[in-house]
């Protein structure tokens, strides 16, 4: 069998961290994506410009640079704020910016921009007549959003969502660079200590492949469900 030289349990712990990181970032990015897409399609000029600036900025900067900025810069910013609070209001407040939080924030922020584009397209694909019909039935805005728009746009958003999720998962590997002990970092340390890179990196790569393949099946199934009401042309 595979002999991981005692690193097996820490690799598994690392895998759990990777998965937690991925899911939390996904949740954040979905929220940001919905807010971003709604802002891009809103009537308010201010919201539209803010959302466009957000997606443009994210598209121009590498994820690693964003992560380094947030991790190193975030702590400095928090320290400045807590110094100020203490000096002016005598409030004792401290917050430690750890790699996990920075990772979730960065990945969530980056993929929030991609999700914004995905959701924007999906919102636009919902037939206007459906929204008018909801209004005619006396649905308020929230009800229209939850009962009519969301279920119908999901069908259009799912392929893009699935794609973003696969890329997000691979991006989590970057958080090992700012010191989070996810499975990539455990593998790197083990590979260096034992001088056998293939032994540790290949199982980690296989883990990624396993999760990717599993997600692919799940996304296919979700797609099928979401498209149940659609008659396919030949």
């Amino acid at each position: 069998m595979l002999d991981l030289k005692g690193y097996g349990p820490s690799l598994l712990d690392g895998a759990v961290i990777t998965i937690e990181l991925a899911f939390l970032s996904l949740a954040l990015s979905l929220v940001l994506g919905l807010v971003g897409a709604s802002s891009k399609l809103s009537n308010s000029r201010f919201l539209r410009i803010t959302a466009t600036t957000y997606t443009t900025l994210i598209r121009g900067v590498p994820d690693l640079v964003m992560m380094l900025l947030l991790y190193y810069g975030g702590q400095v910013a928090v320290n400045n704020i807590s110094d100020y609070l203490y000096k002016v209001y005598e409030v004792d407040f401290f917050f430690q910016f750890d790699p996990f939080i920075s990772g979730v924030l960065t990945i969530g922020l980056i993929f929030g921009a991609y999700m914004t584009e995905t959701f924007r397209g999906a919102f636009l694909a919902v037939d206007n007549g459906q929204i008018e019909a909801a209004k005619a039935y006396g649905f308020n805005r929230w009800h229209t959003f939850r009962r009519i728009i969301i279920p119908q746009m999901l069908r259009h958003a799912l392929p893009g969502l699935g794609n973003n999720w696969q890329v997000l998962l691979k991006t989590t590997a970057l958080v090992s660079i700012i010191g989070l002990t996810d499975m990539v970092r455990v593998a790197e340390q083990a590979a260096k200590a034992e001088r056998s890179p293939f032994l540790f990196f290949i199982p980690v790569a296989l883990m990624y492949l396993l999760v990717t393949a599993g997600s692919e099946i799940l996304i296919k199934w979700l797609n099928k469900r979401a498209n149940v009401g659609v008659i396919r042309g030949d």
């Binding site: 900025l57 598209r59 121009g60 900067v61 590498p62 994820d63 690693l64 640079v65 964003m66 380094l68 900025l69 190193y72 810069g73 400095v76 691979k170 991006t171 989590t172 590997a173 970057l174 090992s176 660079i177 990539v184 593998a187 790197e188 590979a191 260096k192 001088r195 056998s196 890179p197 293939f198 990196f201 290949i202 980690v204 790569a205 990624y208 492949l209 990717t212 393949a213």
Partner: protein, 240 residues
């Protein structure tokens, strides 16, 4: 002129002449790394994409496996495997390869090339299989051989369809190249990390480098838009 700039720069606390030269060195490394890996990746991807469209599973299968493995795992792991793995290859230290792969630049170039080749292969394959059947039939009716068909009909028409997806891949590669800094290469990100640790000024160091990346990204986006317009001129509506 140079002296004036030097004098002006040296009044600053962080962005002095030395710092700016460090960023410049990083920029040169990043551009070299990204440009070389994209060119090599494209050269590799062309035959691979043609193989990938083959109906013979012995030709198509291995290429599928290659693209699946390289697209399904993080680039960082591929970089680590190649960077740490090459030194472990039995006897490599005695060959001339060691002189090349000793420096971190070449393992990184290899990893990036293999990664971008995998993505590009799938992009070109997608464009090839979208070729209208009629174009191929017409080429056959003119008596073109397989090689001539590929060269004159299949690839030029696929290239037009692939440009947009490929421009995304180029931007992706530029951004992904930032991880070269973890194997001690002083690229743009590496330079920013050096400057950060020297002055303990995260905002200055990283926002400056983010602006440089943004300038590069949006120039590339603009360039590709122009190229696309040029290549797809024949599809423009008459009065558009």
């Amino acid at each position: 002129m140079t002296e004036l700039i030097t004098q002006w720069l040296d009044q600053h606390d962080i962005f002095t002449t030395t710092t700016m030269l460090h960023y410049w060195g990083g920029l040169v490394t990043t551009v070299q790394l990204v440009f070389l890996s994209l060119v090599l990746g494209l050269v590799l991807a062309l035959p691979l994409a043609i193989m990938r469209t083959s109906r013979n599973p012995l030709i198509n299968g291995p290429v599928w496996l290659y693209t699946y493995l390289f697209r399904g795992t993080p680039l960082l792991i591929q970089l680590y495997v190649i960077y740490y793995g090459i030194a472990q290859v039995e006897g490599i230290q005695d060959t001339f390869w060691w002189d090349i792969f000793k420096a971190p630049f070449y393992p990184a170039l290899l990893a990036f090339t293999l990664n971008t080749a995998a993505y590009t292969t799938e992009i070109i394959r997608g464009a090839i299989i979208a070729t209208p059947q009629g174009e191929i039939e017409a080429a056959k009716a003119y008596g073109m051989s397989w090689a001539l068909r590929v060269r004159r009909i299949l690839l030029p028409s696929a290239a037009r369809r692939a440009v947009q997806a490929y421009s995304n891949e180029v931007i992706f590669m530029l951004h992904a190249s930032a991880i070269a800094s973890v194997v001690t290469i002083v690229d743009l990100t590496g330079a920013a990390r050096d400057i950060y640790s020297r002055f303990y000024a995260p905002f200055d160091a990283f926002i400056a480098v983010a602006l440089i990346y943004m300038a590069l990204t949006f120039s590339l986006v603009y360039g590709f838009k122009r190229l696309e317009k040029h290549l797809l001129k024949h599809l423009k509506p008459a009065n558009g």
